[in-house]
Symmetry: C2
Subunit: 288 residues, 2 copies
């Protein structure tokens, strides 16, 4: 199957229905395009799990606030076609904003309180936009399995919760963060960084590595760990640290002690006008 580009919702639905009727499995990799090696690894993984791999490319306006970077978010369909096909995609679904959100659109999916924490404090309507568009993409591409990146760790948690609670019969796989050689998490937004900001942004990975090392050595004082991470990041002269959080992986509530076996650390930091997020999932062997 050579790469097909499908912009129409109804054409995509009909094709997906036909594929399912043939007993074939569909995998969906939802993206906002400007594909990088992180996306390629998701697509390659999808290729190994399904008969037909759909990559959706849609810069979803409803997950951006009015003051955010929707208009300048990078777009390059020709580049994306090469990356997607190279990684094994069969179909790119790239609908228009007008077809996805016709006049009068008002139905949204509200993830509940978890959408107001961490990222939600800085982007209060973001996750409602994410769950709504993901549900739409599920209903349009009809996947058996959908793959998301671990970098957006709160998104991954919220999507899994939505799938479970709304009974979407879809398996969700979360794939590890893919990083540049110096540790910076791959992101389409890295393209916004100046050369200088790009260098300073390695502090995020360094702070996470530091915390992991300290936790595995047995440190239990969260306030101290947070302070140490903050110092490492502050030394890189960021425009703002939005949050550095220790999170329970089952409830996505903030941890007040390190007595759980698994810990998520998540952070969001701005360099110039660019907002970056990163995360580690740490297993404490001492508690096994």
């Amino acid at each position: 199957m050579s790469l097909q580009i499908i912009p129409s919702i109804s054409a995509m639905q009909q094709l997906a229905e036909q594929v399912r009727l043939e007993g074939k499995r569909i995998a969906l990799v939802p993206t906002m395009g400007y594909l990088h090696a992180g996306h390629a690894s998701l697509i390659a993984r999808a290729r190994s799990l399904a008969d037909v791999v759909v990559v959706s490319i849609f810069v979803n306006p409803t997950q951006f606030a009015p003051n955010e970077d929707f208009a300048r978010y990078p777009r390059d369909l020709e580049h994306d076609k090469k990356i997607a096909e190279g990684a094994g995609a069969d179909i790119i679904f790239n609908p228009t904003v007008e077809e996805m959100y016709p006049a009068g659109f008002s139905t949204t999916i509200d993830p509940g309180d978890v959408a107001q924490r961490f990222e939600g404090k800085f982007r209060p309507t973001h996750f409602r936009g994410v769950t709504t568009v993901v549900a739409k993409l599920f209903n349009i591409t009809k996947p058996h399995i959908a793959l998301f990146g671990q970098k957006d760790v709160q998104q991954a948690f919220i999507v899994k919760k939505m799938v479970r609670e709304l009974n979407f019969d879809i398996q969700i796989e979360i794939a590890p963060v893919v990083r540049e050689n110096d540790g910076l998490a791959m992101s389409s937004r890295n393209t916004y960084l100046s050369k200088d900001e790009r260098e300073r942004a390695t502090a995020l990975f360094k702070s996470l590595e530091h915390a992991r090392k300290r936790i595995l050595e047995g440190e239990k004082n969260l306030e101290l760990l947070q302070l140490e991470m903050k110092k490492i990041i502050e030394a890189s002269n960021p425009a703002q640290i939005d949050y550095i959080a220790f999170i329970h992986p089952d409830t996505f509530e903030e941890l007040h002690s390190l007595e759980t076996q698994d810990i998520i650390i998540a952070l969001a930091v701005r360099y110039g006008a660019t907002r970056l997020i990163d995360t580690f999932h740490i297993h404490q062997p001492a508690l096994l």
Copy 2:
């Protein structure tokens, strides 16, 4: 196929998936049980449209407010089995509240402003409960077509809007109100009425019939029509008239003149502690 009773979500999903893989069509009739002739007509219509007819029976707690009749809503599965099988159902899906809403449940579907009008003024969280459970039932029973009654006219509008906006690949059919001989719309809640209340409640149908006659005769004064309907209903000594509304069928906004070809009249009236709703959809031939 003799009637199957399936309480498990995963068993229902697996069966639905198997049926779809065989190329058969599934019709869903979502109900809260205590089936009456209105439900039977929906099931019979579903029978004529699909290979497998699923009737869901679930008294959905999230569409009742704390002060409403969730606890006393009538339930009778043995009776429902007979009605459903007699009308041609293949499967009754009757999950538990605990399986539908496990601890920590927080994902809801928000229909937007339309859910705050008419019924929504008196039941502000009602339609959010409806859309959420209907989406769940769609994902569990995987229908090609789902049938709803016209009596709950705002619900029908909101469900169709959700299906369109979230891209559920499901055909929605709205079936006409089924009435008792004296015009009272069939409803499981009619069982709450005392003999006296039951008789007085025929005023709802009479008021709608009066409005239809007056509109078809050419009356354009909405305030006058509303007043005339109100007088007919008030003569029946109701506990409260919640609303009598003239509604645009495309936008579900309140009409301020009768210049549209199609008009929905909807009303909600209480007799004793029982809240009844009814509706007419009127086509004005003069505007054809």
